[in-house]
Structure formats: C-alpha cells, structure tokens
C-alpha cells in the first residue's frame, strides 16, 4: 500500500472521528433529557435547510448551510409544539409528521435541482465519508480534506458552545422548572442545545448520512451512561466511545471493503451491547454475579441455621444432630463448602457446628427472631405470619438494625414463639457445651 493511500485513509478516519465527537457531545445532553428522538427528527429535518443554503450560494459545510440547518431544526421543534398547541397532536406523532415532511421536501428538492447541487439522494441517506479524502484544500501547504475542515469547525463550535453553558445545560436538563425559578433562561438554553444539535448533525449528515447520524448522536451517550454516573464523565466517555468506534469502524470497513458509515454504526452497537453485559454496576454480568453471591450466602446461612436449630431442639445449640437433607443443589454445595472450611464437622451421618460455624449461625437465628419479635409488636399479625418474612429478612438485617430492634426489647425477652434470642456478642463462654 502506498503512502498516498495510507494518507487517504488517515484523513477519512480523522474526519469520521471528529464528526463522531461532536455528535457524542450534543448526544449526551439529548439522551439525559430524554430527547433522543428529537435528535433523530433534527438529523432528518436539516436537509431542506442544507439544500436552501446550497441554492443560496453556500457550499457544503459553509456558514450559509449551517445557518440553514439551524433554522430547519428550530422550525421542526417549533412546528411540533405548534401542532400540539393548535390541535393537541401528541409530541411524538407531531414530530413524526413534521420531520418526515421536511426531509421529504429536501429529498424532492435535491432531485429537482440535481444539476445545480453537489448532492444526490444516495449521499443524503448514506453519506460520502469514502469520498471525503478526494476533495482536498490546501491549508498552510498541507492538503487537507474539506470535510475535515468542516468537521473541525463544527467540533469547535459544539464543544465551545457546550463548555460555555455546561452548568446551565445540566441544571436545565435535570430540573427545568427549578432552573427557571433560579433565574436560568431555560428557553435560551434549550434553543442553544437544539442549534448545536443541528450544527453537529450537518457534519454527521455529510459524513454518514441521515439515517446513521442518529446512531452517532444516541449510542455513545447511552453507552457512557451505563459506565459512569456524572454528567461530565458521561460526556467524556461518550466522546471516547465515539472516537474509538469511528476508528475501529473505519478500519473494519477498509478490511472487509464495505460501507464505512455502516461499519461505524455497527461498532457503536457492539460497544453498547458490550456495556450492557459488562458495565461494572448495572451490567447484566454484574447483576448476575451479585445475585449468585446473594444466593450462595443465603444457602450457607440457611444450612448453618438449620443445624443450629436442630441442635437447639435436641437440647443444646452446639449438639451434634442427624444431618438434615439439603433442600436445593446450592444448599448441598454450601454444606460441602462449610464442611471443607471447618464450620461444620461431620461424622457417621451426624453433623455439629464448630465454634466459628455456631457463631455465624447464631447471628442468623438472632436476626430471624429479632425480626419476628419486631413484626409481632408493630404489625398486628397472627403468630404463623411471622416466620415467612423472617426467613427472608434474616439474611439482610445488619448489625445496626439488629441493635435498633434490640433497643426496643426488654432484657432477656424471648421471640413470639417463646424461644431465646441469641446475644449479638455471642455467649461469653462460646457455644453451649456439646452433649
């Protein structure tokens, strides 16, 4: 591969990354404001604005075209709201009516003036990223794609605009009414966001087309929201995701000789799916692990408590008893684990708790009986209603809550079934003597 071809790919990739970064920045605010679909609408509705801008003598990516796009975007929002006020059309349906009409008008105009416009319906839908590197202009002696210049200008406008109003943007996004009451001009802030969205969209539109630009707006922010939990972090991670997807997508498209725009969107989708599975706190895997860890702890605690109770019934909580039958596979595994770790001793079909095992079992039984006692006092329930909730609560009642409940009891009080509540600190002389 010649160095020329390499430069060609490098320029295109850089263009894609720059465009993606702009879209990810505005997308962050659109996503947290639940306005993603408005982003979709704007991405389509800017077309007639672009066309009018070009017909008026502007060139793609020039100021006239950007201005046309902003006007078209604000018109979409204005018309949608107007329809709701005038005839009560719901906002989603209204935006569906408005943006498709505007987009269609743009497509028709492009076809009508095909000879005068450097745009065709094909590139409107799918972008011209692949061709970007053939339209070069000279900047300080270096040949640079025109599209990259546009994309860079757009990134500067978008990043600068958001940086200047960031606090007002997130305050408005979080709670519009309180922001308005605090003196923030929320209408101006929102109009500003919509205008920046239109500007970012124009760059994205040129590069990847009207359909896939939505992916650039929404997917990076949606991915970032799964990974981090503060606005500026979401914005930065969204940009990182967008740039990485642009790079990887471009390389993959080159390798398999397919649509770069399509590949970038596919990679973005892949990133999102990965985040859904692997996100540290909210991911499917993390939740599965947390659930399994809980199930495992419950199984261990249940097994210890069963042996402890059987011993209590036999006369002493530390007594050796006939080994209970495990109720689930997990409890069977827990029984083996507890024996291997020395909490339960087993011999000839009988089991007894070691000192450590008895200590852990006592806390479970203590939680159980404290809860039965508390519920018996505070909810007017018959005695047979107390056990089932306690079976569940015993695994969740921490030391702090046990202490609070105990503070309500009189010393030496028994649970509603008349059984002793084991003390928090354990018995001074350890578990009761083995019979």
């Amino acid at each position: 591969m010649s160095s020329d071809a390499l430069a060609l790919h490098g320029w295109s990739m850089l263009t894609a990354a720059t465009v993606s970064a702009s879209c990810a920045l505005v997308g962050t605010l659109l996503v947290v404001r639940r306005m993603s679909l408005l982003g979709d609408a704007i991405a389509h509705a800017v077309l007639p604005g672009i066309v009018v801008g070009v017909l008026a003598g502007g060139r793609l990516g020039g100021p006239l075209v950007l201005a046309g796009a902003v006007v078209a975007a604000l018109m979409t929002v204005g018309l949608t709201r107007g329809l709701r006020a005038a005839v009560g059309l719901a906002e989603d349906a209204g935006s569906g009516v408005v943006f498709t009409t505007l987009f269609a008008a743009g497509v028709v105009t492009v076809s009508l003036f095909a000879s005068r416009i450097d745009l065709d319906p094909e590139c409107v839908l799918f972008g011209i990223l692949e061709l970007a590197a053939f339209d070069l202009v000279s900047v300080g002696g270096v040949e640079v794609p025109r599209a990259l210049l546009t994309a860079t200008a757009v990134l500067v406008i978008v990043a600068g605009g958001l940086a200047a109003t960031w606090q007002l943007q997130i305050s408005t996004a979080f709670d519009q009414e309180a922001a308005a009451a605090a003196g923030i001009p929320v209408a101006v802030v929102t109009t500003g966001l919509l205008s920046l969205t239109a500007v970012a969209t124009v760059a994205g539109f040129e590069a990847v087309g009207a359909v896939l630009v939505v992916a650039m707006l929404v997917v990076p922010a949606a991915t970032a929201e799964l990974l981090v939990h503060r606005m500026h972090q979401v914005a930065l991670v969204a940009v990182a995701v967008a740039v990485a997807a642009a790079g990887l997508g471009w390389l993959a498209a080159w390798r398999w000789n397919t649509s770069a725009a399509g590949m970038i969107a596919v990679v973005l989708g892949g990133f999102y799916a990965t985040a859904v599975v692997l996100a540290p706190a909210d991911g499917l895997l993390a939740r599965l692990v947390a659930k399994l860890a809980l199930d495992w702890r419950v199984a261990r605690e249940d097994w210890l408590a069963r042996i402890w109770r059987a011993g209590e019934q036999a006369g002493a909580a530390g007594a050796s008893v006939v080994r209970p039958r495990p109720r689930t596979g997990l409890e069977r595994a827990a029984a083996v684990w507890l024996r291997l770790t020395g909490r339960v001793e087993r011999s000839a079909g009988r089991v007894r708790l070691s000192k450590d095992g008895a200590r852990e079992a006592e806390l479970v039984v203590r939680s159980h009986r404290l809860w039965e006692t508390w519920l018996g006092r505070h909810a007017d329930l018959p005695a047979d209603h107390l056990h089932p909730p306690a079976e569940w609560v015993e695994h969740h009642l921490g030391a702090a809550m046990r202490e609070r409940i105990e503070a309500e009891l009189t010393a030496g009080e028994a649970d509603p079934h008349g059984r002793e509540i084991p003390p928090e600190a354990g018995r001074p002389d350890g578990p009761p003597p083995v019979v």
């Binding site: 947290v32 979080f174 308005a180 605090a182 003196g183 503060r230």
Partner: protein, 258 residues
C-alpha cells in the same frame, strides 16, 4: 429588597388556566411579613398551580403577581423554588453535591464554572439539611426524605429571600420532616418568607404562622389560629366548588365549538 411598605408577595386577582380551563379563580393574597406560610387545601385545589403562577411557570390569564411591588422578572433569582420530588428523573447522572451546586448557577450565569465560594456555600447548605456526609452519593441512591432534603439544599444554595416549597413533607420520613421543618423555621427567623404547600391539616396548625385555605378559590387567609376554623375547613374541603368546576368545563367546551 423591600423599599417602602410593599408586601413581600402579592397575588392580585390572579386567575390561572391550563389551556382554556381555569383552575384557580381570582386569588387575592398579600403576605407582608417574613413568616412560615402554609398553603392548605384538598387534592386538585390548585395549590401547586399557585406557586407556579408566582414563578411564571404557568401563564396567568388574569391579574398579576408582585414581589415587593415588582414583577418577577426584576427579582429573578431572589425567589427559591423546591418542586415536588416526583418531577425529576432521579437516575440522572449527578451526585448530591452536583445538584446542590445547581442552586448557585442562576447567579453564576454564562461562561463561569462554580468556584471555591460556590462549593463552600453548597457544602454549608448540605450541612444545614443534615446531608454533609452524602455529598458524593449518587442521587438515585437516596431515600425519599434525603432526596427532598437535597432539593431543599439546592434552594438554600440560591441564597434567596423568598422560598416556595411544593409539598416538601409528602412521602418523607418523620426524621426528615423534622429536619426540614427546622431549616424552614431557621429561614423564617433569619427574616425570609417561606411559603409551603401542605396537605395535612393536623401538622399545619402546628407548623405555620399564617395559612391560606384554597380550593380553586381563596377560602380564607391569615394567622393560623384564626383561619383554621371548623367553618373554613368545611368550606375548603366539603366542596361548594362544583359550580366552578362546571363553569371551567363550559369555558373549555365553548373554546372548542365557537
């Protein structure tokens, strides 16, 4: 903020409508002195709407609201607002400190980021509502009472002169209620006017210096003991407003057919 003897807040013949349908009729209410002021009435009486009308969040179709004799635009930022907790998305990616800092943005304006002073104010406000140790906590991981106190701290950070709170005690545990009430009483003692929409008559009698009873129209307003009489409460809660309801419906219908 108060030249002359203008009332701190004055509702003059205020009528509010959603669409064409009036929900508050001809409210005349003036509050002259800093105090804890309760707005009391049944569900759907228009209590929240009254606050929103004062803040310009809903359009007033008749009459006007003045703060110290001036329209709201001229006292922008001097009025703090605590909306109902359910109005925001608590999964929003911010922590407690971020939200409280938002109270300072109105004054901070464009192009400026919160600095040391803003952080100090926000930290102090969190201290006042008893949440200093939760500054870094994700807002989605707070209890209802804690969320309400974060909202209160955000309004405090605005350092306003008049505070409007919409049902701050709704769905809040007793400890948070006491904490919130303590903060509001301290604001009153520091010379601020605190207007609270509240639905519970029993605690209203205990907490507020003055109250207004509202059910789509103003039934009575003044010192709590004088206003919360059996007769007034009967008038507020036992209806007598079907006529207003019917009229509102008729106004809305006519708008559609004519």
């Amino acid at each position: 903020m108060n030249p002359g003897q203008q009332p701190l807040v004055e509702f003059h013949d205020v009528t509010v409508a959603y669409g064409r349908r009036p929900v508050l009729w001809n409210i005349d209410l003036a509050i002259a002195e800093p105090c804890l002021f309760g707005v009391i009435g049944p569900n759907g009486a228009g209590k929240s709407t009254l606050l929103k009308a004062a803040l310009g969040l809903v359009p007033v179709v008749g009459g006007f609201v003045r703060f110290c004799g001036r329209p709201r635009r001229q006292v922008q930022g001097r009025v703090g607002y605590v909306p109902q907790r359910e109005t925001v998305d608590w999964d929003f990616p911010v922590n407690v400190m971020d939200v409280v800092l938002m109270g300072t943005y109105g004054r901070l304006g464009w192009l400026r980021w919160p600095g040391r002073r803003e952080r100090a104010v926000a930290a102090e406000c969190l201290e006042r509502v008893g949440l200093a140790d939760l500054a870094d906590r994700q807002i989605g991981r707070l209890s209802g009472g804690q969320q309400q106190r974060v909202f209160l701290a955000r309004a405090l950070a605005q350092e306003a002169d008049i505070y409007l709170l919409d049902e701050p005690m709704a769905g809040v545990d007793v400890r948070s209620q006491e904490q919130i009430f303590g903060v509001l009483a301290a604001l009153r003692d520091a010379g601020r006017l605190v207007i609270v929409v509240h639905h519970d008559l029993r605690t209203a009698a205990e907490w507020f210096d003055q109250v207004a009873l509202i059910d789509r129209r103003l039934v009575a307003a003044g010192p709590t003991a004088e206003v919360l009489t059996a007769d007034n409460i009967q008038k507020t809660y036992a209806g007598g407003i079907e006529l207003l309801e019917q009229l509102g419906q008729a106004v809305a219908e006519r708008g559609r057919t004519e």
